[in-house]
């Protein structure tokens, strides 16, 4: 369906109705985020909309909190934020390191096993997150009971990696498909071993896709709530979980400021991914 066709065949009431519905839909999609962003700049103490004055006080309060001052819970915001970043870093590095060779094998080999493997790696996508959280929790607890092994950060990193793998693999596959086999053969004809050819030719040409995968994995991990909710402990929790425990009682504007900062980070990262992947098929 093209733009030209749209204007020619859809006129009058149909177009109005469709645009209106689309507008409602987009509003629903964007409304919560817009409200948060606006309210975080509010100068009032209460949470009434629209704000009667604008100010940055909640941001300065947010920075204080994030630096760890005035913390009243066992884990400060600073620690939670650090944990979020570390788990995110582990997730992105591990999933990319695993997916690049996997993508290479999937694209360059032949054989029916490939379909099975690709199916296997889409499983985490279709699995209900709640059940995944429960499953990992049971596994981790039983492990702790029977062997006394405490996983620390890995309690969160391991599930996050599983959630990120399908997306990272998809990115790496499309990056890999852009590198022709003849380039590798040319490198080999010049004396490069297959491994050397992969490192000198294939990986550099996959760079944008790999980078996109890294960022995407980080975004997924950083924003993850459901599974982290089941897996967190007294000592190890991510920023979203920290925010949750703070706001169970009430919602205060400082949290909104923090939220806006997170939104800003997410938007910037997604824009970066978009630029890297530009045109070469989308994430979905």
């Amino acid at each position: 369906m093209s733009a030209a066709l749209w204007s020619r065949t859809n006129a009058g009431s149909f177009r109005v109705a469709m645009l209106a519905m689309a507008g409602v839909g987009l509003l629903v999609a964007a409304l919560p985020v817009l409200v948060i962003v606006i309210m975080s700049f509010s100068g009032d103490a209460g949470l009434e909309f629209p704000p009667r004055s604008l100010s940055l006080r909640w941001y300065s309060s947010a920075f204080d909190v994030l630096r760890g001052e005035g913390s009243d819970s066992t884990v400060s915001a600073f620690e939670a934020m650090t944990t979020s970043f570390m788990v995110g870093a582990v997730t992105m590095i591990a999933s990319v390191l695993a997916c690049v060779p996997l993508a290479y094998a999937l694209v360059r080999s032949t054989g029916r096993w490939r379909h099975g493997v690709q199916l296997l790696f889409t499983l985490p996508l279709v699995f209900p997150l709640v059940v995944l959280g429960v499953a990992y929790l049971l596994l981790a607890e039983t492990l702790a009971q029977r062997t006394g092994v405490e996983l620390g950060l890995w309690r969160l990193a391991i599930p996050h990696i599983a959630l990120a793998l399908p997306f990272v693999l998809r990115n790496c596959l499309s990056a890999m498909q852009g590198v022709g086999r003849d380039l590798e053969e040319a490198a080999m004809s010049l004396g490069a071993s297959p491994l050397r050819a992969a490192v000198d030719v294939v990986v550099p040409l996959m760079k944008p896709g790999i980078l996109a995968g890294l960022i995407f994995a980080f975004i997924i991990s950083f924003n993850e709530f459901t599974v982290s909710f089941f897996m967190y402990t007294i000592d190890v929790r991510t920023l979203p979980i920290w925010m949750y425990s703070r706001t169970v009682s009430s919602l205060d504007p400082t949290t909104l400021a923090i939220s806006t900062l997170i939104i800003g980070l997410d938007v910037a990262l997604i824009a970066w991914v978009d630029k890297l992947v530009a045109g070469k098929g989308r994430l979905f």
Partner: protein, 355 residues
């Protein structure tokens, strides 16, 4: 040439893809410094053969020997061959200099020396100033030369090219053919080129290897292959040839088109044969002035192409393609009668079902 060990020897090479024989029992010897062209229609196995020589495919049976040493199992990156791919396969993320210098870099050559060699090669391929340009900024002809320079940077044992000029436009292709031949002569490197273009093969090769459906048809100098094709397929593949059914007479003459028109054969009398005669070897004369034994035919089509006239003459059931530089023929008209005969030296006669 003495019976010394050929530079590259191919013995009994066989390759199957599923139920199809891509290559059936190929035997071939290539001398040092020789320029060999593998020629044939698509699917004849020429590219497969080249890729097996390069090491990117493995034969099911047979051996490859380089100066007597068996290299059949050697992985491609240890063979020391230089290859130009059909797509050229220039590394898009490297500059021209980095592409050409890659082989040397792998061997640990110092940067300064690499640079010197790169510039030397660029001079040879007549692209002096482009060493630091990214590959994407080059034109088709320039990329072609960079690919060649890259393959020759570290002097290779064998120079392999897979349809190297197919992506160029006609004019560029013609000049590149000449350059490629000159380059090869200058470097003296043993070369194997795959092509489906008969003219290109004639232009480049010391020896033509004509292939069909995985088998060698003929392996000879271009002139020999052209003048004395081994069978009807080769005759037809190299230049417009007319293939006519005929019968051997008691005296050895071959009757074609119902008459003896100059060809003869040593096959048994009564054998069915196919006679191949090229368009330019069909002699046409005015009916009254005919000298040699001939057959009369009607002109069906005539066109003045500049240096030659192209005609189609119908004799009985057969339509003959003819090409001639004779002035009177250019003015011939459709429907005119003409005397047709063949120069016996220029005909080839093959047993009939032997295509």
């Amino acid at each position: 040439m003495s019976a010394q060990t050929p530079h590259l020897e191919i013995r009994g090479l066989t390759k199957r893809f599923g139920a199809v024989d891509a290559l059936a029992d190929i035997d071939l010897g290539i001398a040092r410094g020789e320029f060999v062209c593998l020629l044939g229609p698509s699917g004849c196995g020429k590219t497969t053969l080249l890729r097996i020589i390069a090491g990117f495919e493995k034969a099911d049976r047979g051996h490859l020997l380089l100066e007597g040493k068996d290299i059949t199992e050697l992985p491609p990156h240890q063979r020391g061959f230089g290859m130009v791919f059909q797509s050229l396969a220039l590394f898009p993320h490297m500059t021209v200099a980095e592409n050409i210098g890659y082989g040397m870099k792998l061997r640990g050559t110092a940067a300064a020396q690499r640079r010197r060699r790169v510039e030397e090669l660029l001079e040879v391929v007549q692209l002096p100033a482009i060493a630091d340009r990214p590959v994407a900024a080059l034109s088709g002809g320039q990329r072609q030369r960079v690919a060649i320079a890259r393959a020759l940077a570290v002097p290779p044992q064998l120079f392999l090219l897979d349809e190297p000029l197919s992506a160029l436009d006609a004019q560029l292709r013609d000049s590149m053919q000449i350059e490629l031949r000159q380059l090869q002569q200058r470097f003296g490197v043993t070369t194997v080129v795959v092509t489906h273009d008969q003219t290109e093969a004639m232009m480049l090769a010391d020896r033509l290897v004509v292939m069909k459906q995985g088998r060698l048809q003929q392996c000879d100098t271009p002139t020999e292959v052209y003048r004395r094709p081994a069978n009807a397929f080769v005759a037809e593949f190299l230049g417009a040839a007319n293939l006519l059914p005929g019968v051997v007479q008691a005296d050895g003459a071959v009757n074609v088109l119902g008459a003896h028109v100059g060809a003869s054969s040593r096959l048994a009398a009564g054998s069915a044969v196919t006679l191949a005669v090229r368009a330019e070897d069909v002699r046409l004369q005015a009916v009254g002035a005919a000298s040699a034994p001939h057959v009369v035919g009607d002109i069906e089509f005539v066109r003045d192409l500049g240096p030659l006239a192209e005609l189609i003459v119908r004799c009985g059931d057969e339509r003959l393609r003819c090409r001639s530089a004779d002035a009177p023929l250019r003015e011939a008209r459709v429907g005119q009668k003409v005397a047709v005969h063949f120069d016996a030296q220029r005909c080839s006669v093959f047993p009939a079902a032997h295509a």
